[in-house]
C-alpha cells in the first residue's frame, strides 16, 4: 500500500511536468504556473494549519513580505532576486516568529482572527510606506532575461520549471515533516493541545517551528510570483483574498493531507482562471459569481474535501475486494 501511495505521488508529479510540453498553449502554461504557485502555498499553509491545527488567515503577510523583499533589493540595490528570495524567506521567518509567538497562547478562532489582524496591519504599513512606493506599487525593471536575473521574456517554460522545482521542494518538505517526529508532534498538538503538553512536547516551540517553515516557503513563492508578474502593489500581494484563496483551495482539496492542496489548486485555479478568461473582461464579475456558487456547492456536497470523496471510493473498493476474497 505504501509503495502504491509513493507511486501515485510520483505519477502526479510526472504528469504535471509533461503537461506544458504536450499542450504548448500560453494561457494553459500560465494557469499551470499559477497552479504550481498556489498548490505550493497550500502545502506551506498546511504545515501550520493542517498539521499543527493553528488556523492562519494571514498567510498573505508572508507572501507579500517575500515578494517585497526581493523586489526592493533588486529595485534599489540591484541584488539578484535569488538572493532576495533567501533574504525574504529569512525575514518572513523572523517576522512570523515574532508576531505569532505571543499569539500562540490564543486558541482556535481567537488565533485565526489574530493572524488576520496581523496581516491587515502589515498591509496598512506597506500601503502608507513611501520607501516601498506605498499604494502605487513597484514595476520590477525589465532586464536581460536569464536565470541570474530571474526574468524570462520569450517563453513561460523557464518560469514553469522554477515553479515546478519549488512546488516539488515544498511537497517533499511537507512530506518529510509529516513522516518525522515533528509531524507527529504537530498532529498531537492539533488533536489535543493538553495531551501533547502532558506528554512533554514543547508545544509553543513546535508551533513556532511549523510557522517559521511555513512562512519561509510562502515568502519564497511570493518572490517567484513577483518575478513572474513583474509588478507588485500592496493590494495584490497582501490582501485577505490571497490568504483566503490559500485556505479555500486546501480545505477544498482536503486539509492536512499532502494531496489536498494539489487537488484543491487543480480544481480552483483553472476554474477561476478559465472563467475569468471566458467571462471576465466584461467587468461584471460573472466569473466570480460562478466561482462563488461552485465553492458553496462543493462545500455542501463534499464536506470532507475532494480527497474525502476519493478515500471513500477507495475504501468501498477495498471492502468489495475483501468480500470477494472472503467469498472465494
Amino acid at each position: 500500500m505504501k509503495r502504491i501511495r509513493g507511486n501515485i505521488l510520483a505519477l502526479i508529479l510526472t504528469i504535471i511536468f509533461i503537461l506544458p510540453f504536450i499542450y504548448p498553449n500560453n494561457n494553459f502554461r500560465h494557469i499551470l504556473i499559477l497552479f504550481l504557485i498556489f498548490a505550493g502555498l497550500g502545502e506551506s499553509w498546511n504545515i501550520i494549519t493542517g498539521f499543527a491545527g493553528q488556523t492562519s488567515f494571514g498567510h498573505a503577510a508572508f507572501f507579500g513580505i517575500g515578494a517585497y523583499t526581493s523586489t526592493i533589493l533588486f529595485y534599489k540595490f540591484h541584488l539578484s532576486p535569488w538572493l532576495g528570495m533567501i533574504f525574504g524567506a529569512i525575514l518572513a521567518s523572523i517576522i512570523s516568529a515574532v508576531v505569532s509567538y505571543p499569539c500562540f497562547k490564543l486558541k482556535g478562532h481567537y488565533f485565526a482572527i489574530a493572524t488576520l489582524a496581523i496581516a491587515e496591519i502589515i498591509k496598512q504599513i506597506f500601503v502608507s510606506w513611501d520607501y516601498v512606493e506605498g499604494a502605487t506599487g513597484i514595476s520590477i525593471p525589465i532586464v536581460e532575461e536569464g536565470i541570474i536575473n530571474f526574468q524570462f521574456h520569450s517563453s513561460k517554460i523557464p518560469y514553469f520549471l522554477i515553479a515546478y522545482v519549488f512546488f516539488v521542494a515544498v511537497v517533499f518538505a511537507a512530506k518529510f515533516i509529516e513522516k518525522n517526529r515533528m509531524g507527529y508532534y504537530l498532529k498531537a498538538i492539533r488533536d489535543s493541545h493538553e495531551a501533547a503538553e502532558a506528554l512533554g512536547i514543547n508545544t509553543t516551540l513546535y508551533k513556532l517551528y511549523a510557522m517559521m517553515v511555513s512562512a519561509a516557503f510562502t515568502a519564497m513563492l511570493g518572490t517567484l510570483y513577483a518575478q513572474y508578474i513583474l509588478y507588485i502593489d500592496p493590494f495584490m500581494v497582501f490582501p485577505l483574498e490571497i490568504s483566503m484563496k490559500i485556505v479555500l483551495l486546501t480545505v477544498l482539496g482536503g486539509i492536512g493531507s499532502i494531496y489536498g492542496p494539489i487537488i484543491g489548486a487543480a480544481v480552483l485555479i483553472p476554474l477561476s482562471e478559465y472563467t475569468r478568461i471566458l467571462l471576465g473582461g466584461t467587468g461584471k464579475g460573472i466569473d466570480l459569481i460562478i466561482f462563488g456558487a461552485l465553492i458553496v456547492i462543493i462545500a455542501c456536497y463534499e464536506p470532507n474535501g475532494i480527497i474525502g470523496l476519493l478515500k471513500q471510493k477507495s475504501r468501498k473498493g477495498e471492502t468489495v475486494i475483501e468480500k470477494a476474497k472472503a467469498l472465494s
Binding site: P102, C103, Y110, V247, G285, L294, A299
Partner: protein
C-alpha cells in the same frame, strides 16, 4: 475637537456593535464564521437605496421591510447551505460562507454596477444637533440610537424569552439541549434569522450616511470579526462593548495618526488586549 472625535467614535461604535451582535450569535451558537455577514448588510443597504430611488421611500420607512427581507434571506441560507455543512469537519463551513459572500458580492456588482450610490434626501439628511460645542449629524445620531435599541431588543430576546433561553442552552451544549426537548434545528434557523435582522437594521441605518456599493459590506465584516473576538465569542455584552471600543479606537487613531492608520490601530488594540484576555473581554 477631541470631544467631537470621541463622540463620533462612540456613535459609529454602536452600529458596529449591532453588526457584531449578529455575528457573535451565530458564532456562539453554531461555532460558524459567517463570511457572508457583511454581504447581508450590503443587501440591506441596497434595499434601502432602491426603495428610495424607485418608490421614494425614506430609508427609515424601509427599515421593517429590509430587516424582514434579510431575516428571510438568512433563514433560507441556513436551510439551504449552513445546515449541510454544520457537522462537517474543520473549516468547511467557512468555505461555504466564503463562497456565498463571493457569490452575493459579485452578483450585486453584476446587477447594479460597482458605482457608489447615495441616498441624498432622507428625513435625516443634512440635519444636525448641537450639544454645547459638540455637533452631531442627525443620520449618525439616528443610526446610533436605532442600533442601541436593536441591540437591547436582541439582548432582551436572548436573555428573557423562551426561544432565547433555548438559544442559550443550545449554545452551551447542543446534545443536552436536544435531550431536553429543544428543537435545535429550529434554534439554529432562528439564530441565523435574528443575525440577519441585526445587519438588516444596521444596513438601512448606515445607508443614510454611507455610500452604497457592492464592496460596502466587506469592511464591516472584517471589523465585526475583530469585535466579536474582542468581546468573546457568543457574548452579546462583549460585542456591544467591543463595538464601542473599536469605534473609539478607529476615530481616535484616525485623529492622532492619520486616517490611513485607523484600522491598523483597531487591529493592534485587538492583539494587545488578547495578550491579557486570551478569550476576549468577556470570554470564559
Amino acid at each position: 475637537m477631541l470631544g467631537q472625535v470621541i463622540l463620533s467614535g462612540i456613535l459609529i461604535g454602536f452600529v458596529y456593535s449591532l453588526v457584531a451582535v449578529g455575528l457573535t450569535l451565530i458564532w456562539g451558537v453554531m461555532d460558524i464564521i459567517n463570511f457572508a455577514h457583511g454581504e447581508f448588510l450590503m443587501i440591506s443597504m441596497y434595499t434601502a437605496f432602491w426603495m428610495y430611488a424607485l418608490l421614494k421611500w425614506d430609508p427609515l420607512v424601509t427599515l421593517p421591510l429590509a430587516s424582514f427581507l434579510i431575516f428571510a434571506i438568512s433563514f433560507l441560507t441556513y436551510k439551504m447551505i449552513i445546515k449541510k455543512v454544520l457537522d462537517a469537519p474543520g473549516l468547511t463551513a467557512l468555505l461555504a460562507t466564503f463562497g456565498l459572500s463571493l457569490f452575493i458580492r459579485n452578483l450585486a456588482q453584476f446587477l447594479w454596477t460597482p458605482n457608489y450610490r447615495f441616498i441624498t434626501e432622507s428625513i435625516v439628511t443634512d440635519k444636525k444637533m448641537a450639544f454645547g460645542t459638540l455637533i452631531i449629524g442627525m443620520p449618525q445620531m439616528v443610526a446610533a440610537l436605532g442600533s442601541v435599541l436593536m441591540t437591547g431588543l436582541i439582548y432582551y430576546f436572548v436573555k428573557k424569552t423562551r426561544m432565547g433561553m433555548a438559544i442559550q442552552a443550545t449554545a452551551l451544549d447542543r446534545d443536552t439541549a436536544k435531550l431536553m426537548g429543544i428543537d435545535t434545528e429550529k434554534v439554529y434557523a432562528v439564530t441565523f434569522g435574528i443575525s440577519g435582522i441585526c445587519v438588516g437594521v444596521a444596513g438601512v441605518l448606515l445607508s443614510t450616511f454611507f455610500p452604497v456599493y457592492p464592496e460596502a459590506g466587506a469592511l464591516y465584516s472584517l471589523l465585526a470579526f475583530v469585535i466579536v473576538a474582542f468581546g468573546g465569542f457568543g457574548n452579546i455584552q462583549g460585542a456591544l462593548l467591543g463595538g464601542i471600543i473599536v469605534g473609539l479606537a478607529e476615530s481616535l487613531g484616525g485623529f492622532f495618526l492619520g486616517t490611513q492608520f485607523k484600522y491598523a490601530v483597531v487591529f493592534l488594540l485587538y492583539l494587545l488586549v488578547l495578550q491579557f484576555r486570551p478569550k476576549g473581554l468577556f470570554g470564559w
